[in-house]
Amino acid sequence: MRSRFLLLGAAMCSMVSAAAHAEDKSIEVIHHWVSDSEVAAVNTIKQELEKRGVVWKDTAIGGANGANAEQSLRARIVAGNPPGAMQMLGFDAATWAKEGVLRDLTDLETASGGVQSLPADYRRLAAPGGKWVEVPIDLLRSNWIWANKKAFDAAGVSVPKTWDELIAAGEKLRKAGIIPLAASDEPWQIAKIFDSLIVDLNGPEFYTQVALKVDDKAIRSPEMVKVFEKLRQVRGLVDDNFVGRDWAVATEMVASGKAGMQVMGDWAKGEFLAKGLKPGVDFLCFPTPTSTPNFLWAMDSFSMFETTDPSLRAAQDELVKVLLDPEVQIKFNLIKGSIPPRLDVDMSKFDDCAKQAAVDLKASIEHKSFLGTLSGGYAAEPQFASIFKEVAAKFFVSDMSAQDAVTLLADEINNAR
């Protein structure tokens, strides 16, 4: 017992001394990456930063899709004690920029080649009013389908080209005794399917009207009713035990062959790879079925908070450079399962799914179908995005009619305007 205490004391002393060394140049970073693979990825940034003489002081706050971290940030800004940097999703940076608490990073990002090499659509969120306020580290695609190859072979189905084909394939899987689609009742998971349906059924132009411009006419249109009707059919492919199901548990169902498919972002890939399964051999990755190369994106970024402390500013400068370093982006994304947001990065070390994502990314930019994901908060502003998510989830778990869902959606959105 006593030795345990001594050890604890020693550990604390070493922590204190580490902190003391850090006094010259260090930066506190709030983020909400808490899973093992996420932490491993963050460590690549931390280590590179430390190589350059800056200590990363970690404040991780997981849960509630970043809302817990957001709550902490607000309390700290009100208290006049902001962190050095913070992980930003969706509209976060644009919102804080309006409050005047973020540093203008335009010069730094131009110097590091970020401004020139990042996808143009990102500017909408990262550079409101022309001033860059955030730096991205990864690029995620949310409209992936992950499938079990053996299950597909057993049921005699191939990669579907349309949602109707997908539903037909689902019926075949069911006949072969396989749950066609592994899903959950968590709104963000349902919304992944919902987002994809909006763009896949009606095209990028329509998606822009609904998800980015939040246009009342488009939202009330028969095309939107069609989206909900299709979502109802997709619901038919899901088993009854989907409540509270963790996405990784759903992925596990696909990996083990209990279920055929799952609609999920790139991070699902890590689950397959961790089991030693190979893309193309054991599992398949393909975009949700459609005629245009749609790419629904999300990016994790960091913003730097305004400060007068010169050593903190220097640490922030260094962090920006590290984040935009192509080598760091490669290392980070190899671990995290996503792809580098810089378009000029060598993809040769990545697996086939990531390579396909990079190819699709460029094609989608050409076809103007590189679009922010609605449910992730990269299309409409948060007060609207959450309504899309909630209505889709409500519709998915109940027996509401498609028309009622459209009316509810449009009314709630008008109320939030």
Partner: protein
């Protein structure tokens, strides 16, 4: 000139008030001052950070035309009514059982009390599994051979709220039990003996003699459980996160997500004010009747 003794006497007389003054100041600022702040935000157009302008009742109108808020309010009423009554009944029932001079009372008391010690971040996952039809109770019973057994409340938007009631009752009925048990121990035994002499059955004695004597205990239970009911956040958050499909939304969750997720700080503040108004409506009559009694006695 005022004599020193007079000052001293005056100070001595004011001592009680002086002792209470710091607490009073703190309460005044930390509770009432901050409520006033919340009120002012609720009349403003604040989105991400507080702005101190004035837009009248706009945010309240917006709040009350949000269907999600209506669901939350309705849920709170249903939840509070069920939770308060069931937890009170369970607590009373267990307390009466434990009061029958049984063996292992200490152990059993701990068993019923321990859920109170666990935060719901902790026990939420366990409950989620037990209530999940494909993993928990339903599967277990079906595996035992009763294949038509169905317990899918967690999945069903119409019943999911009741699973939160179950978990909440589990968590705090032990506390009610402790208060009732204390109340029972405080009752004069001779009254019960007298009733027994008259030949009344045990059940009858409890219903018509003992329970009415527990009135103060009932009131303590209602206050302590009532504040838990109104503030219920962790519980819903861990168990259903408001789902399925928003069916278990609660006012405190609504306030959290409006303020910290949807950048509608003023709407969040308005919802907080409505919750406080509800507390006032329920608490003031209670406090009025309760606080008059002891002051009459003394």
């Amino acid at each position: 000139m005022i004599p020193m003794t007079a000052i001293k006497r005056y100070l001595a007389a004011q001592l009680p008030k002086l002792v209470l003054a710091p607490s009073g100041m703190v309460i005044l600022v930390a509770i009432y001052g901050f409520i006033a702040w919340t009120a002012s935000v609720s009349f403003s157009s604040s989105k991400v950070m507080p702005i101190y302008d004035f837009v009248g009742l706009e945010q309240y109108i917006r709040l009350w035309s949000t269907p999600r808020w209506h669901v939350a309010v309705e849920n709170l009423f249903v939840f509070s009514a069920l939770y308060l009554s069931i937890a009170t009944l369970f607590g009373l029932f267990i307390a009466i059982l434990l009061d029958q001079r049984i063996r292992a009372e200490g152990f059993l008391r701990t068993v019923f009390l321990y859920p109170m010690a666990l935060s719901f971040i902790v026990s939420g996952v366990a409950w989620k599994w037990v209530l999940n039809p494909g993993l928990g109770l339903q599967k277990l019973v079906r595996d035992w051979g009763w294949t038509s057994f169905t317990f899918d409340w967690l999945v069903n938007p119409n019943y999911a709220l009741y699973t939160i009631v179950i978990a909440a009752v589990w968590q705090s009925s032990g506390f009610a039990m402790a208060i009732f048990l204390a109340g029972l121990r405080g009752i004069d035994n001779s009254i019960i003996k007298a009733a027994q002499m008259e030949g009344a059955s045990q059940v009858r004695i409890y219903v018509s003699v003992v329970v009415p004597m527990l009135r103060p205990a009932f009131l303590s239970v209602i206050v302590l459980l009532g504040q838990i009911a109104i503030k219920t956040f962790d519980l819903t958050f861990a168990l259903t996160n408001g789902g399925p499909g928003g069916a278990t939304e609660m006012p405190s969750m609504f306030m959290f997500s409006a303020t910290f997720e949807r950048n509608q700080m003023a709407v969040g503040a308005a919802s907080a004010m409505m919750m406080l108004a509800a507390v006032v409506a329920i608490m003031v009559p209670y406090l009025y009747t309760e606080l008059r009694k002891p002051s009459n006695e003394h």
